[in-house]
Symmetry: C2
Subunit: 361 residues, 2 copies
């Protein structure tokens, strides 16, 4: 259902897993997750599923089935694999095995550093930046050593620690924003595509905090753009997934994209002749220039633009209520392009075979 929702939102280009298949045996959870997602979206997937050799081999088999063979998958990778360094500076055996499998199959690997200032990184933002860059470079070096030329993505989610509790800082603010921007700029200069976290506010419910942290994040996409963004729909620092927050974040991201596009300042758009003709005490409502260009203005799906009277009459719905309605509408109306019957059965067969092997082993 969540995959179907994300499939419906045009602002989203790729999908993470939003829930974990905790009802499946641990060794094949990732396979179940990927299978369900492949059946419910035609968008690119990005997942941490398959974080060791066995799981990675299963995921590659699923992907090859959908892509139509090993070479077809190499040409059109349906999924990119998230592999995390353990900060500071440590690679576990599982991810390195998985990297070998994915890299050999041509599945892009997103090398992720999630260093946290004060705990797994220095307390300074400069030190957090240095460590993040070093860790991502170490992952890229591993990939290129195992499979020279294999596609990688450089990903930094630098964070700060809550000094009060020692946990991840849910009240993330300017330091985190500065660190993410700095990492995006340095990682982006390395060559491979660069990803950064946006959204996934520290708030526990959609509300002012998720809006404020989301607005600051969206602005980073305008002023310090990355190639790929992760995090829409997350709350409580991505420990909670909210379909309503996903719609809200998609709205903000759409606004950021429009903001970054800018506006032409040519003679037609500066409209000095129109201003001169209308003149003092006139208005522009009836101008052909207005009619010709008003469609260029951005329009919100979610932000409340009603008058106070309309709003009261409608039962005082806020933007969160509008997003809830949008979630219901999208789920009712959107049907993703289905996999062919045969292919769907083939995926089930692959997952079942791996599951049998995992339970036997």
């Amino acid at each position: 259902t969540l995959t179907r929702l994300a499939d419906a939102l045009p602002e989203l280009g790729l999908l993470w897993r939003s829930v974990s298949a905790n009802d499946a045996p641990p060794a094949v959870r990732g396979l179940h997750e990927v299978e369900v997602q492949l059946r419910n979206t035609t968008k690119h997937l990005q997942t941490g599923a398959g974080a060791e050799g066995f799981g990675a081999r299963g995921v590659v088999e699923l992907l090859r089935a959908v892509a139509g063979g090993a070479e077809a998958l190499r040409t059109r990778p349906l999924l990119s694999s998230i592999q995390c360094v353990i900060s500071p500076l440590f690679w576990d055996e599982g991810p390195v095995e998985a990297i070998a499998t994915y890299a050999e199959a041509g599945v892009p690997i997103s090398i992720v550093s999630m260093a946290m200032a004060c705990a797994s990184a220095p307390a300074t933002i400069g030190g957090l930046l240095a460590l993040t860059v070093a860790e991502v470079c170490s992952g890229i070096a591993i990939v290129q050593t195992l499979a020279p030329g294999a596609p990688v993505i450089s990903t930094g989610y630098p964070a700060t620690m809550d000094l009060r509790s020692g946990a991840l800082n849910l009240a993330a603010g300017p330091d985190d924003a500065f660190a993410e921007m700095a990492c995006t700029q340095v990682l982006g200069s390395l060559g491979p595509p660069c990803a950064t976290g946006l959204f996934s506010s520290g708030a526990k419910r959609p509300g002012w905090q998720s809006g404020a942290q989301g607005g600051l994040a969206a602005a980073r996409a305008v002023f310090s753009p990355a190639d790929i963004y992760n995090g829409a729909g997350g709350l409580y620092a991505a420990n909670v997934f909210s379909p309503v927050q996903l719609v809200l974040d998609a709205e903000l991201f759409g606004a950021a994209v429009r903001w970054a596009e800018g506006h032409p300042l040519d003679a037609e758009h500066l409209a000095l002749d129109v201003i001169e003709r209308v003149g003092p005490e006139g208005h522009f409502l009836a101008e052909p220039h207005t009619l010709a260009h008003m469609g260029e203005l951005w329009r919100s799906r979610i932000l409340d633009e009603t008058s106070w009277e309309e709003w009261e009459a409608a039962g005082e719905p806020d933007a969160v209520a509008r997003a809830e309605a949008e979630v219901r509408r999208l789920l009712a109306e959107h049907e993703p392009e289905p996999l062919e019957e045969d292919l769907a059965r083939e995926l089930e067969r692959i997952v079942a075979a791996y599951e049998a092997q995992a339970l036997a082993g």
Copy 2:
């Protein structure tokens, strides 16, 4: 009370009027407002009170009383006066009279254009920009003609129209942000200090929308800074003033200021030696470097950083609830520096004299 709250918030450097003295005769409303504000804050005031000659003369008399005479007011202007052009391109008689009075007294005049694309300005953002700049320049020309060298502030609040209703677009997004940035940059290049609107979301209550629009606005202060910002505490496009939203906006503005300050990237802050010493599988919690620098990290007053369990135990308070508590705390604890008794009586006397004159006239 609202003035007292704003006096207490360190993020706020100047105060607008947040309520109107509608219980006073129209001609002296502005005088009552300014008198109350002078008694409740030592911060700079900025107000549209006194938008014609009579009111402006009264305001100047109040200000001279507090400043300690005409020359003292010129040296330390306690207030700046907002004077609005009527878009497109029209100056009414009242504001021009007021400009003459204020400019002669050395009270800075903020020349404000509030053009709205599609209605009082072209539908294009370029045209909105051109008109705003032309209008502000026209106001500056009026001031400088009437009183050469008088201090002015260039202020643009460009907005877009809600195409559905014809009213101000409460769902303001990327177009408005782009227009405000462009105006800030062009007006800022003219020479006089430049002001822009921040906050005053279109939302009707503090919540996701006021956070999202506020976050996007705060980011403008980071990436396209003006000299003066107006709008904190506003909702429903500044038709509603919310003390809670004021605290929330102040929090975001503080975060933006910290973001803009940045972080040093010198050897001490890059901390390469610390990273090398800690090494793989270590941690930074016990490092002297961490202890020395962790105090440099920004800490939120309002954003919720509690764990899920703490949050549930506390009754699930969100950031808005925390801001409400902060409003109550500030009002209970903060006592503005009072005016001397004699001076307060003198202000009352001035207002009463103008009121008598207005009622007689």
